[in-house]
Assembly symmetry: C2
Homo-oligomer: 361 residues x 2
């Protein structure tokens, strides 16, 4: 095993693997591109670790490998896309490209995608727009792990939201965050390491704060951002609910407690209130509100001002959203990407099952 | 002094007072309508308590009482409005009405308002859309009180975001929240009552957590939602930053640290990087994504599902965003509205200065 792998070899392997299970080459390339964007940006929780989850979904008969993505509703500045139950990236990238084209004509445009599955990092899509000097927005719902304020029931997913805003001389501002205080992957890691977790992240089945990262297995839940009502958890609840409704009710995907799981070994919810899970995407032309150059200069000024903020004594600087991921991308492109041993082992197994050469052995 | 005052008498008094200082009757009515919406909805921090702040701004020569609100940039689905330095509600209500008209044609529409001032509760504008069975969004920036994650400098306002979504048989879902964990008004109240504040809301000038509600006077700051980095304060920072940029950079208002104060007794920032403070507004036709009735039925199902969530033992039910404010509106309309003694005293003084009859004496 090598210590680091190049983007090219990991990308090529991922394309080959998804092609081998039966994806069209172009679709396999899209899935690989989004997963590898997470690896490049230093968000491995949404990178190659997900390959086995995605393939387990297909093995469980829950993924259409040859989706016919299509528009089901349209106005001058909006549309709703049916992902035909394919991997979420396939409709996701199409929808983002199309919403950018629409915004070119109308100034801004919004779309929602229904009948979809996990689509990787939300930031990938918003960044597509920023790379074309447009503002990009994306969000998605996810299977329910989060209890709203005062609730014992898990009603919401970790529902990420991403907003990318281009600047003139700086890399774009990219906010890309789960609207919950912690992701499930991080809980799983703490559990594996036999560590406890601070208060403010999870509650037990009675709604009491818990230190146990495995408490979700016993009827517990992740709490909303803010932690408790006194500290504004109802604001986190609002954020997650907005992302959920824009991903589901808007176009007709499943909402909240009915969103299907992202792995094959978890059972499907008994009731379905819509089609698959859902995402939303938006693009704004920056010259829809003022001349483009004024916008870009002003965004540079915003970033410069925040870079000049005085950091506390434990930190060197105040972070601009997206800056660490931009720096990671440069470093990973130059020096290669580390892949955890457990992830490599999963990928090696899959490469044997589906007879694909892997870069790990 | 009466215990409670009717909507009508408080509204009429407010219209008369703003007319007496020199507002056009129609503009005075708009200012009063938005302030009274806060009182009705049980958000007195944004109600009549603000009247003296607004008038102090005008007395300090910082408000144009006869603004010529006008469009400075436009596309089919967007526009930028210059509020001509009037009270924020005047351009705010115009912008929301116009963005709804645009959305009727294009499906969705967005606008930003620059050169403006405090505009009251963000929820007022989003609710305008929901009352017409459209989705409404609004946000605004505000003078800097909040330090981003790892920052000692106050760079952001409490920057509220409001999203209103209509349902079929329920009142609309209305999320209307400051993106910071606490509002300045609440800190001021704790200070008056000589109370300390829990950790997780404010920091001192060195970035250490503080229990002192008056710590902002000594170089402290409100922290972002989440409290500290470990609990996701960078997510709160992202939310506040997005609201700030959409309110400022988008159209050309002042951003973050340069946003002017909302009261006359605080000095103007030395540097201006744009015009006044800014807001943004959006409207979505619900039939821009699926047939309207399908949307409304699905939103009813969403609300029903969340109403059925099991509450913890200390609460009777899980709250739907906007539900408490809806119930308050009914109660206040029926039984009248209480106004704090200190607020009444301020209003009595103003009524004498500007020779207006008041309902309090």
């Amino acid at each position: 095993m090598k210590k680091k792998y190049s983007y090219q070899e990991l990308y090529a392997f991922t394309v080959n693997l998804f092609s081998a299970i039966g994806c069209r080459k172009k679709d396999a390339a899209t899935v690989a591109e989004v997963l590898m964007a997470a690896e490049l940006r230093g968000i491995p929780s949404h990178g190659l670790v997900r390959v086995s989850d995605y393939i387990s979904l297909w093995e469980a008969g829950r993924i259409n490998l040859q989706p016919q993505v299509h528009i089901v509703h349209e106005t001058p500045s909006t549309f709703t896309m049916d992902a035909d139950n394919g991997f979420g990236m396939i409709a996701g990238k199409k929808a983002m490209n199309m919403v950018m084209r629409k915004a070119t004509t109308t100034g801004t445009a919004w779309t929602t995608v229904i009948n979809s599955n996990h689509y990787g990092i939300a930031g990938f899509y918003s960044l597509m727009a920023a790379q074309k000097k447009m503002i990009g927005i994306s969000g998605t719902n996810a299977n329910p792990l989060v209890a709203p304020t005062w609730s014992l029931s898990r009603m919401l997913g970790t529902n990420p939201l991403a907003v990318a805003i281009p600047a003139k001389s700086y890399p774009p501002f990219v906010a890309d965050f789960a609207t919950s205080p912690i992701a499930r992957g991080k809980l799983a890691l703490l559990e594996k390491e036999n560590k406890s977790i601070d208060y403010g992240f999870v509650q037990d089945k009675n709604g009491n704060p818990s230190h146990r990262p495995d408490i979700l297995k016993e009827g517990g839940a992740i709490v909303t951002l803010g932690g408790d009502y006194e500290h504004g958890s109802h604001k986190g609840y609002c954020m997650s609910a907005i992302v959920d409704i824009f991903s589901s009710v808007l176009g007709g995907a499943n909402f909240g407690p009915f969103v299907p799981p992202q792995v094959g070994y978890l059972p499907m919810p008994k009731q379905q209130v819509g089609k698959g899970l859902g995402h939303f995407f938006a693009a704004f032309r920056i010259d829809a509100f003022r001349p483009a150059n004024d916008f870009l200069k002003s965004m540079d000024e915003w970033i410069t001002a925040f870079k000049k903020a005085t950091p506390d004594k434990e930190h060197e600087k105040v972070i601009i959203p997206g800056e660490p991921e931009f720096e990671k991308t440069i470093e990973h492109t130059k020096n290669g990407i580390s892949i955890k041993k457990e992830v490599q082992q999963d990928l090696i197994k899959l490469s044997h099952t589906y007879r694909v050469t892997n870069p790990f052995e």
